[in-house]
Amino acid sequence: MTARAVARWQAAAPYAVGLVAALGVLAVLVAALGGDAPAAVGSLVRASLGSAAGFGQTLNKTAPLLFGSVAVILGLRAGAFNIGVDGQIYAGAVAATGVAFLAAGLPKLLAVPAVLVAGAAGGALLGAVPGLLRARAGVSEIFVTVMLNFIALFFVEYLSTGPWNDPMAGEAITRAVPPSTTLPLLGVRVGAHAGVLLALAAALAVWWLLYRTVFGYEVRAVGDNPTAARLGGIPVGRTVALALVASGALAGLAGAVEVSGFHYRLILGLSPGYGVMSILIAVLSRRHPLVAIVASLGFAALVVGTDSLQRSVGLPASAVFVVQAAVLLVLLASEGLRRAP
């Protein structure tokens, strides 16, 4: 092997360790519940990747995770932690649902783009708040985005139990959006909707933005060294603010896609922690939008697989967070051990 190939294998090694860690933690949890660990791991893989329908579900989960993780990546590249992806997903979902109700009479070719644009705008609006506050008042975006998560969640609770509530459902669920506003399916047998293709396009667009445009160069410059960027004449505050707005728009698209592709309505539990998972994926991908495609797919498979174990061995849904965080902790530890004296 050439030195380069060795280096590439060394770079990939931690991911293998992470995968082993994920399966190991899962096996321990299943065993603790009195289940058959090896069989559970097998059924997890089958349920998420081994069948057409399962793979379709994995693709459907990949869509919001990929949108969310490239949103986080765009923020991170500008040196901003967008912890508000969940809130922005909800803001996007609210705007998308509202526009979908209004667009009932429009042909699909107009209605679907309108819904998507609304979702992006909703998310961008929520991203603009931390962006402006950071640029103007130096307020840490971490706090503002977290607080907005709570505010957005309460707003969705209000809409889904109040004015938009579906009285037949009796839960925090709104009426269904008109069929003319929903995303097409990729194939009936697979059951995946077109959202994953949009997310893929978004990941490519973020890559292009970061590495092929002046704005992307400025974003990376600001994120790597704000002082040098400022001395180089880059408007640091404005760049960070715009990055957060764009980040919010990407997360908002995730919300729109969840409404128009998957749930066909706004529900209170629309985002089962996509935002926090997106942060983990962004770190795991080393802030690279193309790596995030693979990582999102992996995390989505984990979500779908654990979901199936919930039904078969009673593994609680929250196990997926433990497994995902453990993967990252193992990776961070392996990095730390390699560099430790």
Partner: protein, 312 residues
């Protein structure tokens, strides 16, 4: 609406009780930050400690056991964070967010594994009020301040002790030096690594205690969203209080007051949907943040890993 409502004794009394988790968590965070460690996992630690405390009390029947379990969980997670940050020099925000996710997942996982799915959630006893002799009999003030549960007094003692420790002992001075300028501190023989590790243990235990206080002072139950942003708000209170224990505690009282006020308002008013009232503390937090950041100066080395061999 009359102004008397704003100063209603039962409202102020509730606010004092609700300030306890905020005051304890911000005290713990402050101790860590003064040593140079940023603990962004705080919301997760509060949640995990609440679950641990609830389960400890649920299994043993004793609130004391629950409090110890909660504090131990907080100390353990924070110590782990410190190991990543200090020994392995990983980015503290990244590690903190990862641990946040781990703790939130672990909290509900443990609860579900032990308690399972039930129609009515099990309860533990909430802490009874402990009237202080003499002080408790004072008019008005006695009822608001001195007929509270034991954790109110404990939190007040912690804040006072932390102030004394940080600003009036030589160990406190050394700890602050480790957070301001670790190179200079190390040069004169301060054990930067050791101090950061101990700050993580002690600060983490306080954050854990804050989480443990939640099931025993709110409803006696554990829910996944029990922390409700209190960890994040505590993190913010440290900035609000300019990294001083007394300032952070004052902020805790202010926020607890807004929270309690929102409760009262929800009971009185039917015109405004409750969700909008529930948004109040969070919206208030954003407004306060803008002011708090004006001229705020964090410990110089906060969040930066200390590398003895690095060129500066």
């Amino acid at each position: 609406m009359s102004w008397e409502l704003l100063l209603d004794p039962s409202l102020v009394r509730l606010a004092v009780s609700m300030a306890v988790p905020l005051a304890l968590a911000s005290a713990g965070e402050l101790l860590m930050e003064r040593a140079g460690l940023l603990n962004v996992a705080i919301e997760g630690i509060v949640t995990l400690a609440a679950a641990g405390a609830f389960l400890g009390a649920f299994a043993s029947g004793s609130a004391g056991v629950g409090l110890v379990v909660g504090a131990a969980a907080g100390a353990a997670v924070s110590r782990l964070l410190a190991h990543y940050a200090v020994a392995w020099r990983r980015d503290q925000v990244t590690v903190g967010l990862t641990l946040y996710v781990l703790c939130v997942g672990l909290a509900s996982l443990l609860y579900r594994m032990v308690v399972g799915v039930r129609l009515t959630p099990p309860r533990v006893e909430t802490l009874p009020p402990v009237p202080l002799p003499w002080l408790g009999d004072l008019p008005l003030v006695g009822d608001i301040l001195f007929r509270q549960h034991a954790l109110v007094y404990a939190a007040a003692a912690v804040v006072g002790a932390l102030h004394g420790f940080l600003f009036h002992t030589s160990l406190g001075l050394r700890l602050r030096a480790a957070g301001e300028n670790p190179v200079a501190a190390d040069t004169v023989g301060v054990d930067v690594f050791g101090l950061r590790a101990w700050a993580a243990l002690a600060g983490g235990a306080l954050v854990g205690l804050a989480g443990a206080a939640l099931p025993f002072t709110l409803t006696g139950t554990f829910t996944e969203g029990i922390a409700g942003g209190r960890g994040w708000i505590a993190l913010m209170l440290v900035i609000f209080g300019r990294w001083t224990p007394l300032g952070a505690a004052a902020g805790a009282l202010l926020f607890a007051y807004v929270e309690a006020f929102q409760f009262k308002l929800a009971l009185l008013s039917k015109a405004v949907p409750p969700q909008f009232l529930q948004m109040l503390p969070y919206a208030f937090a954003i407004l306060v943040l803008v002011r708090a950041y004006r001229g705020a100066e964090a410990p110089e080395a906060l969040g930066k890993p200390y590398d003895r061999e690095a060129r500066t």
